[in-house]
């Protein structure tokens, strides 16, 4: 579904991605782990076109989207749940969700969008309760759910999630991961970026490890979970606990 070849991204003269190649098959959950500043966000932002100075190849359903802008890319069915949620804070929950479907209003039936809204409410009952609340006043967990809900409203074929558990309490994090696996069961394709490597590896089938703009390791998540290197670098705390 998504194939990236030799992707290089730049912020001005600074090169943040130094030739990344990866692929995500339909129906798969693939996770991407790496330390702070490794280039995970840059990678996701390059896929959707938010980082526009990029070279290489990004094939989505066999179309190269590297020349396209975010608007065109989202219309093709790629949706990003951005780092830090990026909600429309002064707008209500329902307005945020409706705007998630913004680009569909011209081509899709209103009833279809409405039924997708109901589906989001089934997945996140709390959002239905908080429908008229101002998004900026939601709790962190609710905001993350809204960010996911908003991206689902675009009816994406591929969802990119950037650290959905960031800043959330363990209980809420578990809930978010449950929702991700629920989405997976429904057949959604997901590329998941996470600091919480343990949880990400448990939920995904395959994973990539990225370091200073390069993929340094890839494989089945199960294997990476038991890989010494990965354990030491990304599952550090637990590793220590085992030995202490």
């Amino acid at each position: 579904m998504l194939t990236i070849r030799n992707l290089k991204s730049y912020y001005g003269r600074m090169q943040a991605l130094k030739g990344v190649s990866l692929h995500v098959e339909e129906g798969e959950v693939v996770s991407l782990i790496g330390a702070n500043g490794a280039g995970k966000t840059t990678l996701l932002n390059s896929i959707v076109g938010l980082v526009s100075s990029r070279t290489g190849q990004i094939l989505f359903s066999d179309t190269d989207i590297i020349q396209r802008n975010p608007r065109q890319i989202i219309r093709m069915g790629v949706s990003l749940v951005p780092e830090g949620r990026q909600l429309f804070a002064p707008l209500t929950v329902i307005e945020n969700l409706i705007l998630g479907a913004y680009q569909r209003y011209r081509k899709d039936k209103k009833s279809e969008i409405k039924s997708d809204l109901e589906k989001v409410f089934v997945l996140f009952p709390i959002l239905k309760e908080r429908k008229s609340q101002i998004a900026g006043t939601l709790s962190g967990g609710e905001q993350q759910m809204l960010a996911i809900g908003r991206s689902l409203m675009a009816k994406p074929k591929l969802i990119l999630m950037d650290e959905p558990s960031m800043g959330l309490a363990p209980l809420i994090t578990t809930q978010i991961f449950q929702i991700i696996s629920e989405l997976h069961k429904q057949g959604t394709t997901i590329l998941l970026v996470e600091q919480n490597a343990e949880a990400a590896l448990r939920i995904s089938s395959r994973a990539y490890v990225i370091e200073t703009g390069r993929v340094v390791l890839q494989g089945m998540s199960q294997e990476l979970l038991h890989n010494q290197e990965v354990r030491r670098a990304y599952l550090g705390r637990e590793y220590k606990e085992v030995w202490e």
Binding site: R71, P82, Q86, A89, E95, I98, L99, A101, Y102, Y105
Partner: protein, 297 residues
């Protein structure tokens, strides 16, 4: 005339002025909230609206209603053209660059108007009759009722547009978070264009309805922009309710000041208020603290 009815008279005048200032402030707000730009050419839209209406109805002799909507449309197009010509081509402009551009545009519009219509002052007949209505010893011109009515209609339109249409919501979304807006597929640049057109249209409307009582010439825009800007700041930049309320406050202060102190000082009042607000409460009456700071374009 008793003191009571005199006060009432000043109040009516103040409300009329305040309505106009409020509308100019609404124009400032629309562009400010979707782009962070203070459009100092806002007053020129008001002037152009008035002049265009006078030209279309008294010189070309189009019917009032046609002239009204056509003037608004033409000025809205000018607003759009201004955005496409001067704002759109810039890549990552700084706030100060943008402000200087709007000043340049304001000079250009003013020059254009002088070139087209000369330096004379023009009058526009009132929309319906000049016979004042007596209320408790004071008088109201029928045009004042038009002004209030059209202001109310504009506010209702804006509430409907921003609250209930997809495009209106998308404009608010752009104002709230540009990155997220482009992530859901909103064309941010189009929304900026729209905000210039809309704000020019509202400015033009203000110019048209005030022309019958205030007369119009090429040079009217600047002072109206200053007043409107003071109102927008007092109300809290970006707050539309604030704009309407602050419009009445400054309008009434001005008319009381002119009546009881001296009409020579009336233009200074808005400026004094502006300075006071900036010193004491830069966020304005109804604005949030965050709004008091400049947004990044």
């Amino acid at each position: 005339m008793s003191l009571g009815s005199q006060l009432l008279q000043y109040l009516f005048t103040g409300i009329t002025l305040g309505t106009i200032y409020g509308m100019v402030a609404l124009g400032f707000n629309i562009i400010y909230s979707s782009t962070g730009i203070i459009n100092l050419a806002q007053g020129e839209f008001v002037m152009l609206g008035g002049m265009m209406m006078i030209y279309l109805t008294t010189i070309i002799k189009l019917p009032m209603v046609v002239g009204f909507f056509l003037s608004i449309l033409i000025v809205a197009l000018m607003g759009a053209l201004f955005e496409r010509g001067a704002i759109h081509p810039l890549k990552n402009p700084s706030v100060i660059t943008l402000i200087i551009i709007t000043i340049a545009a304001s000079i250009l519009f003013k020059g254009g108007a002088m070139f087209a219509w000369g330096k004379e002052t023009f009058a526009l007949p009132a929309f319906s009759g000049e016979e004042p209505v007596r209320v408790l010893g004071a008088t109201i011109l029928p045009q004042t009722l038009w002004i209030l009515g059209i202001m109310a209609a504009t506010v209702v339109f804006l509430i409907f547009f921003f609250g209930f249409t997809l495009t209106g919501k998308a404009m608010r979304a752009c104002a709230a978070n540009r990155t997220a807006a482009s992530l859901v597929g909103i064309n941010v640049k189009t929304m900026v264009l729209l905000s210039f057109a809309l704000s020019a249209a509202i400015g033009a409307t203000a110019g048209i309805i005030i022309a019958p009582i205030a007369l119009m010439d090429y040079n009217r825009g600047t002072m109206l922009a200053v007043k409107g800007f003071s109102v927008a700041v007092l109300g809290g930049l970006g707050s539309n309710v604030g704009a309407v309320v602050a419009g009445f406050i400054i309008g009434i202060m001005e008319s009381l000041g002119a009546g009881f102190i001296s009409s020579g000082y009336k233009d200074a009042i808005a400026l004094v208020v502006l300075l006071l607000v900036l010193f004491i409460k830069p966020g304005g009456l109804l604005g949030s603290k965050e709004k008091g700071e400049f947004k990044k374009f």
